[in-house]
Symmetry: C2
Subunit: 257 residues, 2 copies
């Protein structure tokens, strides 16, 4: 199983949007896909029409060390589309960081769960929260690829540098290889500003920047409102084309995925 | 001194943009303003041309309980414009949450510092990170107003409900009054989608929604790139008009500010 974390501590750069639509495109291409929501906001679920608050079991139950609350990953999964399963989350997940504070191997809990019972999937895509704490570390320790969405802003360019330092430390500390890929998101072809930011991105991150760019389009937010990936809402839109291209690029590029 | 926290756990909804431009407009109106960056990303500083990494003393030194690292708030301030001072941050600030874990009154540290040495300011505006952890709790405990920027997205509407619950718990637990105000941001008057989200916002939050809306405009991101508030970059733009209106509205509305 190939595991991809969609990660960036910069808020609102498109992590959830990229994770949900990449997962949906991989499933449409015939792969068995597990989408894990590691954000207590539960937005990956919301983007697929699932409200985390009403659920009996979520990622909290998988990661907690409180015996009476525990559940295996395979038991919390919801089938959201053909070949697309979701491991949902809600606000309870935010309690895990304090519960596991100081405990050994707390950063490996997700990796251990993925090794146990869900290897019948071809891909696992993980949506991360806007921080680099225990939840994101769990996602990275379980991943071969870190996919970093970047919106066209000076704050985001600065965030990549910081994130790439964190990932390198993680790799050397745990002798674990993670391949970084950056994907430009919210690119507005009409403005000079976007073009200049994209140029800066190409200059600084040429080796790891995806060729595919995701254009700014309200279609992507509309999809989230309707609880469906954009391929279901608007199959002939630029948004869907961008994600189909991105999926093809990631799945074929030196067999990243 | 009136203290306003700009807060929302949803990432990328415009917290830093609103905090920086509101502070700049208050200063332009003749008020003495302190802008505190409570986000380890240090983006409020970046938006005013200050890179946190090179600084000797930041908000980390104010909030840490490690004696050898401590510094008073008054000593870390940088004057960024006429009547506008910045208390900067960098990544070190993210260490405070673990350092203070389990310690008494850890949520009151900022409030205590504000009470000690900086009351010669008229306003204090606090930029919060995209989470509701110790840093955001410190900001809220020190504030009379919680200003919640919301972008036009289903994820953000859901975030307000969660945040309003958190603030109400905080108020009752600490018998501390915080007035909530919501400000619509990134409103694109051209799309139906924005209009529909704005309608939903008006229906659900009528009593606390600001009349002023901040329109989507690339000018605001350009300002951050140049390290200046939009009133300096484009004084006759819609962006500057929106922020001047918002500042007037907040400063006069039942004397919120
Ligand atoms: N290419 C795009 N074009 C237009 N809107 C987009 C695009 N990508 C994301 N969005 C919208 O921008 C907002 C932020 O995206 P999203 O919530 O996916 O980011 P995030 O990084 O997951 O945020 P958080 O940091 O809170 O987890 C959402 O309203 C989303 O619909
Ligand atoms: N009204 C607006 N019009 C256009 N762009 C905007 C507007 N408000 C904010 N932005 C841009 O959107 C991006 C996100 O805004 P900002 O970084 O201020 O959000 P934030 O809530 O502080 O993010 P974080 O959760 O990471 O702290 C930035 O690139 C910013 O320049
Ligand atoms: Mg998200
Ligand atoms: Mg910010």
């Amino acid at each position: 199983m190939k595991v991809v974390s969609v990660v960036n501590q910069k808020g609102g750069c498109g992590k959830t949007t990229v994770a949900v639509n990449l997962a949906a495109c991989l499933a449409a291409a015939g792969e068995r896909v597990l989408l894990i929501d590691m954000d207590p906001q539960g937005h990956a679920g919301l983007a697929l029409g699932t409200h985390g608050d009403g659920l009996e079991a979520t990622m909290y139950n998988v990661l907690t060390d409180k015996e009476e609350d525990q559940a295996p990953l395979s038991e919390i999964l919801l089938e959201k589309d053909d070949k697309l399963w979701l491991a949902p989350s809600n606000i309870l997940l935010s309690a895990v960081e304090q519960q596991l504070a100081g405990k050994k191997r707390r950063e490996d809990r997700l990796r251990e769960h993925l090794a146990q019972g869900v290897s019948s999937y071809d891909y696992c895509v993980i949506d991360c929260p806007p921080s680099v704490g225990l939840l994101t570390m769990n996602a990275l320790r379980a991943s071969q690829v870190a996919l970093i969405p970047v919106d066209m802003s000076p704050f985001s360019l600065q965030a990549i540098r910081r994130l790439s330092d964190t990932i390198q430390v993680l790799c050397s500390r745990a002798s674990h290889m993670i391949r970084m890929r950056v994907v430009a998101n919210m690119v507005d072809a009409r403005t000079n500003f976007s073009r200049r930011m994209l140029e800066a991105l190409k200059k600084d991150y040429e080796g790891i920047l995806c060729k595919t760019i995701i254009h700014r389009t309200v279609r992507l937010t509309e999809g989230a409102l309707h609880g469906v990936p954009v391929r279901r809402l608007a199959p002939y839109s630029t948004a869907h084309e961008d994600f189909a291209d991105l999926t093809m690029e990631l799945a074929t590029a030196d067999a990243d995925l």
